[in-house]
């Protein structure tokens, strides 16, 4: 016993000394943020674009949504897969069941091993997916981000639903009109790191700085993590904390539906204006029962369709992702690659009681 304890104590002492030595040694100098130049070579291919190249037959596309059971992303991906059939390719959707930063990574590896021609990804975290995506591009697998961008050097194209600025600003403009530019407002977002949500929120804040919104005050940005129950609870929490809240903007389809569900069953129904981004099928009920007056969204089917054609154009060598290149996206017509490889789908559609029945998605 004695011997062992003495030995144990010695070991602890040695370890302690080692740690403090290491600390002392390393504290003097080292690699800091400033000393480091992030020299990541651009992984994009150097091949020349051939605008006249035909779309290749038999292309294999892998769609990787933020999470597999998100109804909105399912619509996007299914439309993309259907588009692939149009040009003689095949598509499939794989992905994690949670929207954690890291959970998409193993799926990217999988798509690489399965030798897909292109990976289409809606990134949960712009950087966590970067390593494997760069590896994919090195193996000449094309990478197209849609819906939620990755870091710019980790993909060739980003298919943006609508210009982020337009989405953010228009949501505030709509809500402002609805509440007479007066009162407390809150935002119910998805996860704290969702790239697209955060960009829109930035533009919402920008818009709110304009003089006409001087009586509108953003009191809180809540996060429902794109989980129905959590978004529901967050809405409940918002109303408890700010009983005189006038409006909520929820720029996420899961969030707005959960918030509408809470409001429709509460005494706040009709008193709090809810706006944001939702799908007609999810929101139809709440538009009809008067909980929600209007909301907007781009057409997710067109988003998936465009992404699919863009990936095919890349994989066929029609474009490389450079600014100014043009490609045909089937029935949607011609698109041009913008700055930083961004392709913008178009303007968001506003849904209300007048037009909602003409949409089914």
């Amino acid at each position: 016993m004695m011997l062992r304890n003495a030995a144990g104590r010695r070991a602890v002492a040695t370890a302690a000394t080692a740690v403090s030595l290491a600390l002392a040694l390393t504290a003097c100098s080292g690699t800091t943020k400033d000393s480091e130049d992030t020299g990541g070579a651009k992984a994009g291919s150097s091949a020349k674009a051939d605008p006249d190249a035909p779309l290749k037959k038999g292309l294999k596309l892998g769609f990787l949504p933020k999470q597999i059971n998100n109804p909105y992303e399912k619509i996007v991906d299914e439309a993309g897969i259907a588009a692939a059939k149009e040009y003689g390719g095949t598509g499939k959707e794989v992905g994690p069941s949670d929207a954690n930063a890291s959970s998409q990574v193993s799926y990217i590896n999988t798509l690489i091993q399965q030798r897909q021609d292109a990976i289409l990804i809606a990134a949960n975290d712009p950087n966590a997916v970067c390593g494997p995506l760069k590896q994919a591009m090195k193996k000449d697998i094309k990478v197209v981000a849609y819906d939620s961008d990755t870091a710019k050097d980790c993909r060739q194209l980003f298919i943006n639903q609508a210009s982020s600025e337009e989405i953010g600003r228009s949501l505030v403009q709509h809500l402002g009109e609805q509440i007479g530019y007066k009162g407390k407002v809150a935002i119910l977002s998805a996860t704290q790191n969702a790239t697209n949500q955060n960009t829109w929120i930035e533009y919402m804040k920008e818009e709110l700085k304009l003089p006409k919104y001087k009586d509108m005050k953003l009191v809180k940005v809540a996060y429902g993590d794109d989980a129905d129950q959590k978004s529901f609870q967050q809405t409940q929490g918002l109303m408890q904390a700010y009983p005189d809240l006038k409006g909520i903007i929820s720029p996420t389809t899961v969030g707005i539906a959960a918030a509408a569900r809470y409001l429709s069953d509460s005494s706040y129904k009709g008193k709090v204006v809810l706006n944001g981004l939702g799908t007609p099928n999810q929101m139809r009920k709440y538009v009809k029962d008067g909980t929600v007056e209007q909301f907007s969204l781009w057409n997710p089917e067109e988003l998936g369709y465009l992404g699919s054609y863009a990936a095919a154009a890349l994989a066929s060598g029609q474009i490389t992702g450079a600014e100014g290149e043009k490609f045909e996206a089937g029935k949607l017509g011609e698109y041009t690659v913008g700055k930083d490889g961004e392709v913008i789908l178009g303007e968001p559609t506003v849904f209300d009681s007048k037009n909602i029945d003409t949409f089914d998605f």
Binding site: G30, V94, S97, N109, G131
Partner: protein, 350 residues
């Protein structure tokens, strides 16, 4: 030394009727997991294109590097009848701190020891609450699970810090392998640490003490084992490994975040239990735990490569886990009954 009871033989099924080697091996769950692991490898190599590529194997193993690293001290803890649910939160705290300090302009070489010290401090708090205040480890670490994750959010908020120095980032990624092998550096580190842990658990007095504490804490105490000190040490080592896993995770994904490794504690504990470490303490081998970790990792990789939905993967893991807890008990019960019948036949009393 000799005072520590050798619980491994004490708890093994007594007087097996036909003690052949094959039979002894077949009765051990950890051996079964090892066989299962080999089976998954063989099936994967035979059926799935890309599974056997160096690149994929490097990825598959590296993908569970953090879980594997934390599973080592967790094995020791569970053998000693304890558990630490705060490991994933400590990973998150380690990651968030790495990010926050890097953002603040600290040298990376300074950040790592500081993060490790925070891990030690977290482990000390867990250990202190368990040994000095006398609370059950499950309750304590449920509390610190929330506490450490909360601190992580305070440290970094909802930000994600990126752009870590290339030289360190390259160390952790899947594409950098030890020349000539498919082992990545975090995995290599795991192999070394697993060997050390195996020696500690199975070939030292400290290891025997852990089994003794797990089997019968009071008996171990009266046998002269410094129960509290050892438990404290275990929690400290677990905190240290978890914080270090936080650094590895951060570098591997190039993204420091407070919510990194959310839910990993379950994966770690599941792997350890799958490897045949008895949750009641006192039983198990490090070989089993390592096999359990690798099995979960490889199986996940193989299922994903075959486009098996995540939900199904969760079910498969769950079934394996239930089997791992159930099988040894069923086997023990069967052996016990046969043994009793054998003992009863010559002299039927009633």
């Amino acid at each position: 030394m000799t005072t520590a009871p050798d619980t491994k033989t004490a708890s093994a099924p007594r007087a097996v009727t036909k003690p052949s080697l094959v039979r002894a091996l077949a009765l051990r769950w950890d051996t079964a997991v090892g066989v299962l692991l080999v089976a998954v490898l063989v099936v994967g190599l035979g059926t799935t294109e890309g599974f056997g590529s160096t690149e994929n194997l490097a990825f598959a193993f590296n993908d569970i590097a953090e879980v594997a690293l934390i599973a080592l001290p967790m094995t020791l803890l569970v053998v000693a009848g304890q558990v630490d649910l705060s490991v994933a939160s400590m990973l998150g705290l380690g990651s968030a701190l790495t990010g926050a300090l890097w953002e603040a302009g600290w040298a990376f070489e300074t950040i790592v020891p500081v993060v490790l010290l925070v891990g030690v401090a977290g482990g000390l708090l867990n250990g202190w609450l368990v040994t000095k205040v006398g609370l059950p480890s499950l309750a304590v670490t449920i509390g610190t699970l929330a506490l450490y994750r909360g601190l992580a959010s305070v440290a970094l908020g909802s930000d994600a810090v990126t752009d870590f120095p290339q030289v360190y980032a390259d160390w952790a990624v899947d594409t950098t392998t030890v020349p000539g092998t498919f082992l990545t550096y975090p995995v290599l580190l795991f192999v070394v640490l697993a060997a050390v842990t195996a020696v500690v658990l199975h070939a030292t007095g400290l290891g025997r003490s852990l089994f003794a504490i797990g089997a019968q804490e009071e008996a171990a105490y009266f046998a002269g084992i410094r129960v509290k000190r050892i438990k404290l040490l275990l929690f400290v080592v677990t905190g240290l490994f978890s914080a270090f896993a936080g650094v590895v995770f951060t570098l591997r994904y190039g993204s420091a975040r407070a919510d990194n490794g959310l839910g990993f504690e379950m994966l770690v504990i599941a792997s350890v239990l799958l490897g045949g470490i008895d949750f009641d303490g006192g039983k198990g081998t490090l070989f089993g735990a390592v096999a359990g970790v690798l099995l979960i990792g490889l199986l996940k990789n193989l299922l994903t490569l075959n486009d098996i939905a995540n939900e199904v993967q969760v079910i498969v893991t769950g079934l394996l886990l239930v089997a791992s807890v159930l099988t040894p008990r069923v086997v023990a019960a069967v052996v016990e009954r046969r043994h009793r019948r054998a003992a009863n036949t010559p002299a039927p009393q009633q």
